[in-house]
């Protein structure tokens, strides 16, 4: 039986994530919008949460997408870069969420602008562990 205990810090903090985002964004201004983070607000099981991130821009204009989870022990979830054969600035996957928290997506565009979206979610623990 596996025990859900952690050796390191229990959770990242919003301040830590803000610092990671500041490093990512650099000198550019961070605006809300254009990137859309799709996550269920009520999470049935934190082990596998369906997530879609998409950017309202031609994919050739999208430099990168990063996703951060403020409440996870390790906040960086995903980094994505698109190439010339990409069909759309979009990815769907499933992520792990340790607890109820805010998840943030940051997209950087070719013109240097940076865009952000966030979702606050509730993560319920399973009633029957294992």
């Amino acid at each position: 039986m596996l025990l859900p205990l952690r050796p390191g810090p229990a959770r990242a903090t919003p301040a830590q994530v803000a610092a990671l985002i500041a490093e990512l964004v650099g000198e550019a201004e961070l605006h809300d919008g254009r990137v859309k983070l799709d996550l269920p607000v009520m999470v049935e099981n934190g082990n596998a949460v369906a997530m879609t991130v998409s950017v309202d821009a031609p994919v050739s204009q999208v430099r990168s997408i990063d996703v951060f989870a403020e409440g996870n022990p390790l906040p960086h979830v995903l980094r994505l870069q698109f190439g010339p054969r990409a069909g759309a600035a979009r990815i769907a996957t499933r992520i792990r969420l340790a607890t109820s928290q805010t998840v943030i997506a940051v997209a950087k565009l070719a013109d240097g602008s940076c865009w952000r979206d966030s979702v606050d979610l509730l993560v319920t623990l399973a009633a029957c562990i294992d």
Partner: protein, 286 residues
């Protein structure tokens, strides 16, 4: 009493199911107790008429929308990783006999169509019921002259998932007449018996409290129509054996041994109890 508790599947003998309904008022308040029952009956009738939680239904209906979506799309259903493995194993020649499943059965999607709907089933030669997984192992040992696959191994789950998939969408049709009856009765007794430090029976939760919540989760009716299934809590694929053993550990009971007579009899009962529900293998559940 089954009529007052629509969560109990019709035809279930509720004798001995103490605690499957909420306690009523004491005998000294006969009038109040009657009124309570009347209101309860009226409410349950109303709820049953709008189809709420009353009918026999799959755990799929109790899962959240994202979990259902994961199951609905074969391209995103992780269970298909095991189906893929099972399909490959179906054609693999193994054992001293150098024989594959396909060599005897032919194409899996033809020969195995509908098979999973009838398991567990009574085996006249063995004189007891066998589950689908046990049947697969039996074939390996006796007809392929190969060693059995370890329980809960990816290979065994893969084969069971591949065979189960060939019955997807078809109604469960487990038979308990004739020589299987006594094993069925044992299984049902296990289902309704209190066990463990928490002193709970399967029936108390999965008949009496199905549709209500334990923690953040909706309590399902506990039908095995999607096994082997991908369970998010397991982060992997697992068998009905595993799920039942987990449940027993959950009520702090000593779990029945894997592949034991008790588990097989209980699974025969559970299979019959899920009759007419559609097979969903490989299901996805929280």
């Amino acid at each position: 009493m089954a009529g007052l508790d629509p969560a109990i599947p019709p035809g279930t003998d509720t004798a001995g199911m103490a605690g499957s309904r909420p306690a009523m008022t004491d005998g000294g308040r006969a009038g109040g107790a009657f009124l309570t029952r009347l209101v309860l009956a009226a409410t349950l009738t109303l709820l049953a008429s709008i189809g709420w939680a009353a009918e026999k239904h799959s755990g799929y209906d109790d899962a959240g929308p994202e979990t259902r979506a994961m199951q609905d799309d074969d391209a995103s259903n992780p269970g298909f990783l095991w189906v893929q493995q099972g399909e490959a194993l179906w054609s693999e020649r193994i054992g001293a006999a150098g024989r594959s499943c396909a060599d005897c059965h032919g194409a899996g999607h033809v020969a195995m169509r509908g098979v999973a709907t009838r398991y567990p089933q009574y085996d006249a030669r063995l004189g007891r019921p066998v589950t689908l997984t046990q049947r697969i192992e039996q074939c390996r040992i006796e007809r392929q002259a190969a060693p059995p696959l370890p329980p809960e191994s990816d290979a065994l789950l893969g084969l069971a998932a591949y065979v189960g998939l060939q019955s997807r969408g078809m109604p469960v049709q487990v038979e308990i007449d004739g020589p299987g009856q006594s094993f069925f009765d044992s299984g049902k007794a296990l289902y309704t018996a209190r066990q463990g430090q928490l002193n709970l029976s399967c029936s108390q939760c999965h008949d009496g409290l199905a549709g209500q919540r334990l923690g953040g989760s909706v309590i399902p009716q506990g039908h095995p129509n999607g096994y082997p299934e991908y369970r998010l809590e397991w982060q992997g694929m697992g068998s009905l054996d595993r799920r039942i053993r987990n449940c027993m550990a959950g009520v702090r009971a000593e779990p029945f041994a894997a592949d034991s007579e008790e588990l097989t009899n209980l699974e025969l009962y559970l299979g019959w109890r899920s009759n007419d529900l559609k097979v969903e293998t490989p299901a996805v559940r929280p």
